[in-house]
Amino acid sequence: MSTPAASQHTPPLLSVENLVVEYPSKKFRAKPFRALTDINITIGQGETLGLVGESGSGKTTLGRAVLGLAPVTQGKVIFEGNDISNASRRERRTLSRDLQVVFQDPYTSLNPALEIGDILAEPLAVQGLDKETARKRVKELLDQVGLPSDAVHRLPREFSGGQRQRVAIARALALSPKLIVCDEPVSALDLSTQARVLDLFLQIQKDTGVSYLFVSHDLDVVRHISHRVAVMFRGEIVEQGPAETVTRNPEHPYTQRLLLASPVPDPDRQEQRRADRHRLLEQQRQQTEQAGAAA
């Protein structure tokens, strides 16, 4: 297909260029709904890009566009030098070896009627692995995500949220992919479970060198797991850069608001943060007013 980007020495694993996603409107002849506007991101080998934003900001849509689950209206999604923005089902099947997903809700991302073993074997079967090899691989996977091997013959409903999310992670790992799109994978979990699942993500990255596109609404989670962070607001990326910079000294007013809105677990520091937040809001309000007056 297309040639790898020759200008760079090490082309990124994934690069999204000027991506626009529009959903056709339900109403006849109405303007389509623009979910994403002019998105540009790259993810390198073994790198985690954190994608943070609030509900409706388009962060989930970006993940889905990369996976081919959302329609690409304009722009390109380039994976390992190939434009996959409009890949066919056959190309997707090849691609699924390298590109996988972990969804937010561990309760609906596993088919409740299938045993864990069958769920994990599904991507293997698609790639044409024979049953015996697949069985071995499933065992390895369960071990890797810290689940007992007798889980093979059990149903998803017999597991807690955290354990289900481990199954979903194991399914994503089944084909040893290069990139996993993680769509809010810890937001449905309890605090201590979230910590363990985050540990698992980090451990897997350390062991396999996989890259993550990590979508979350929680700045703390994104800071913890990402090398670089992109902030989304109303379908656009308003700021991106190294995780430390973006999540500690953000430049964009929205990111600043986001940072100061997240409460810290100490009454006095939280009081300080609250005051800072009010000051920031006041300051931003004045700026907008001035801008309005100037215009």
């Binding site: 609030e54 509900s55 996976l67 689950l69 089902r89 997707r92 099947r93 090849t94 590109l99 996988q100 997903v101 809700d105 309760y107 609906t108 596993l110 088919n111 409740p112 009627a113 299938l114 045993e115 599904e122 991507p123 698609v126 790639q127 810290g146 149903l155 409903r157 017999e158 807690s160 949220g161 354990q163 979903a168 399914r171 309890d190 605090l191 201590s192 910590a195 363990r196 985050l198 540990d199 451990q203 609404h217 929680d218 700045l219 703390d220 800071r223 913890h224 797991i225 430390e244 809105a261 997240s262 409460p263 810290v264 677990p265 100490d266 009454p267 006095d268 520091r269 939280q270 609250r274």
Partner: protein
């Protein structure tokens, strides 16, 4: 065809049953006496039909002219008809033809409706639009007239008329299938299968078809019954093939001779009634079996706590809790000097009776108090019993919940006295809405979509405060301004779906403070909101609490929210109170290991890219977190 509507509802509800569940459905079906009866009746009739050539003493059209309208005897056990044909033989051969034609009708309907429904449901788009048109046309055709026309055009063939009827009835399968498929089309596991590169065909076969199967079986039972009735009806009118023995032809024959030999009418009618009744009962039994499975599903969705007793409502408790209560009595008696507390919960235990007579405790020996103008945070993970504790204060526990121990007092009076087994609704109705109010977690699902926000704010005020509507309206507008809504008139007249989640939560907070309560119970009031909105709502809660000097019980899992609002904190785990203290004590120097673990799981202030909990194997990655290391503690639900 009215069946298609509620079977469709079943299919949506049972959208997640499938292969493995089916075995339990079968077992449940066999436990249901109606199910067994239906299966027995249908099985017998089917067997008789299959064995008709063996069992029938005569050919179906063999006529003994010398013996017409005979009473039952040893050669003709059910007698003969007006042409001297053996009723028993005709009944058996009739069963063959009638059942086969019903199957043909259902088969045709499934062959058309099922694939079309699958495609339309899964792909939507143009195919769905076109097929919807066709279906609407088919459904608007007057069935009987079409069948009469077809009979006139193609002659009296049972098969042709049943094929035609199958086509006419196929929309019911189409709609059923489409609704079921639509309900799972956007499930995440279907997306995951797409990402895995499964072809559409495999996705439909593996993930989608299993959802449709059960409703299709139910529908087929109903449709087969209708087909038998329609077919017999046509033949009863004399439009059938007179050379074939069917129940309808027999019925027609019996009707002609109803004054001479009424029993002629009885046998085919009985056969039809049994078959159709059996089919209907079977459909109902399958539906019941599936709905039982539904209950279990709901159970796991809720927190493990509230769920356990769901199936065993009404099981009386045994002597055990009574004993427990007696031992608590001494504690509850020492109440003088505690009247000044706004709420005082003492040794509270909440349990759900189990099928085996035992009680599963979800709250165990919990004691705390809240004073006026104070915010108490109850922190814990899912299943810790924090919401159950809050609901006991509100008196909103499920019906089957039992207070197995302890007492709750509000402003110097018991709402749950030490002896009580249930929260006294009589005492609480006077308090709830007036002096105790509630802010829920999901703002959207706690506003009725059918009424305007204004109506939902005004009605309780008129009821509780006894003020006029106009006055209540003024108050509601002021409250909406108070909770930071910029354009209160517009919000007042809006329906819940017209406002954002944060706005809806503000409305609910306005509702909670509308009757000037002394105590507000807030159950995860900001969990469903975006962080920036959460910060605003927290500001609002703090401001209102200080201004009105109310007591607040704040149930949350977020220590940041606790730090922001609370004066004191109670930490709960598995229904027990682990630790209680001032917010600084608990957040800075937690004494209990569980609290330490919880706080250790916070990401704030952690070195990025390091392990939070010590890894399952290998050395501890981060020395500081070593003491948080705990065994994998995710209980199997």
């Amino acid at each position: 065809m009215s069946d298609s509507v509620d079977t469709a509802a079943v299919s949506v509800a049972t959208g997640q049953t499938g292969t493995v569940v089916r075995s339990t459905v079968m077992r449940r079906l066999l436990k249901n006496p109606l199910g067994i009866a239906a299966l027995l009746i249908l099985g017998t009739i089917a067997l008789l039909a299959i064995l008709a050539p063996v069992l029938a003493p005569f050919e179906e059209n063999f006529a003994n002219i010398s013996k017409t309208l005979a009473a039952p005897d040893f050669t003709n056990i059910l007698g003969t008809d007006s042409a001297g044909r053996d009723n028993w033989s005709r009944l058996l051969f009739g069963a063959q033809l009638t059942l086969l034609s019903a199957l043909l009708c259902a088969g045709v309907a499934i062959a058309i409706g099922l694939p079309a429904g699958l495609i339309a449901g899964y792909y939507a788009g143009k195919f769905e639009a076109v097929s919807n048109w066709i279906v609407s046309i088919l459904m608007s055709l007057p069935g009987l007239i079409v069948l009469l026309t077809i009979r006139a055009a193609f002659g009296p063939s049972v098969w042709i008329s049943m094929i035609a009827f199958g086509i006419l009835i196929s929309p019911s399968y189409f709609r059923l299938t489409r609704a079921a498929v639509q309900s799972v089309r956007n499930e995440l596991y279907v997306d995951a299968a797409r990402v895995s590169g499964l072809s559409d065909l495999s996705i439909i076969a593996r993930h989608i078809f299993s959802v449709v199967r059960a409703p299709i079986i139910i529908q087929t039972a109903a449709i087969a019954g209708v087909a038998i009735a329609i077919q017999s009806g046509l033949e009863f009118l004399g439009l059938g093939d007179p050379t074939k023995a069917t129940w309808g032809v027999m019925l027609s024959e019996g009707f002609k001779n109803v004054y001479l030999t009424p029993t002629l009418l009885l046998w085919p009618a009985l056969a039809m009634a049994l078959t159709i009744g059996g089919l209907v009962l079977l459909g109902n039994a399958i539906r019941d079996a599936l709905e039982d499975g539904e209950k279990i599903k709901h159970r796991k969705k809720r927190a493990a706590v509230s769920a356990t007793g769901a199936a065993t409502a009404g099981t009386r408790t045994t002597a055990e809790p009574a004993k427990a209560r007696q031992s608590r009595k001494a504690v509850a008696a020492v109440e003088s000097g505690t009247e000044h507390h706004l709420v005082k919960v003492t040794g509270l235990g909440v349990g759900y009776p189990q099928a085996d007579g035992s009680i599963k405790k979800v709250v165990d020996d919990v004691s705390f108090h809240v004073d006026r103008g104070e915010i108490l945070g109850i922190v814990g993970e899912s299943g810790s019993g924090k919401s159950q504790t809050a609901f006991s204060i509100l008196g909103l526990l499920p019906d089957n919940a039992r207070i197995v121990a302890g007492s709750i007092q509000f402003d110097g009076h018991y709402t749950v006295a030490p002896e009580d087994e249930k929260v006294s609704q009589e005492r609480l109705t006077k308090l709830r809405g007036k002096r105790i109010s509630y802010i829920p977690q999901e703002p959207m699902s706690n506003l009725d979509p059918a009424f305007t926000i204004g109506y939902q704010l005004v009605t309780p005020m008129v009821r509780v405060l006894g003020i006029s509507k106009a006055e209540a309206r003024q108050r509601a507008l002021k409250l909406l301004t108070d909770v930071g809504i910029v354009n209160p008139e517009r919000t007042f007249d809006a329906y819940p779906h017209e406002v954002s989640g944060g706005m809806a939560q503000r409305v609910l907070i306005a509702g909670a403070i509308s009757c000037e309560p002394d105590l507000v119970i807030a159950d995860e009031p900001t969990t469903a909101l975006d962080v920036t909105v959460q910060a605003d709502v927290l500001d609002l809660l703090r401001e209102l609490q200080q201004r009105l000097n109310i007591g607040v019980v704040l149930v949350t899992h977020n220590f940041g929210v606790v730090a922001d609002l609370c004066d004191r904190v109670a930490v709960m785990q598995n229904g027990r109170l682990v630790e209680e203290g001032t917010v600084r004590e608990i957040l800075r120097n937690p004494k209990e290991k569980y609290t330490q673990t919880l706080l250790g799981s916070m990401l704030e202030g952690k070195e990025p890219m390091t392990m939070l909990v010590s890894p399952p194997e290998g050395p501890v990655a981060h020395g500081e977190t070593a003491h948080h290391a705990t065994a994998e503690k995710e209980p199997v639900a």
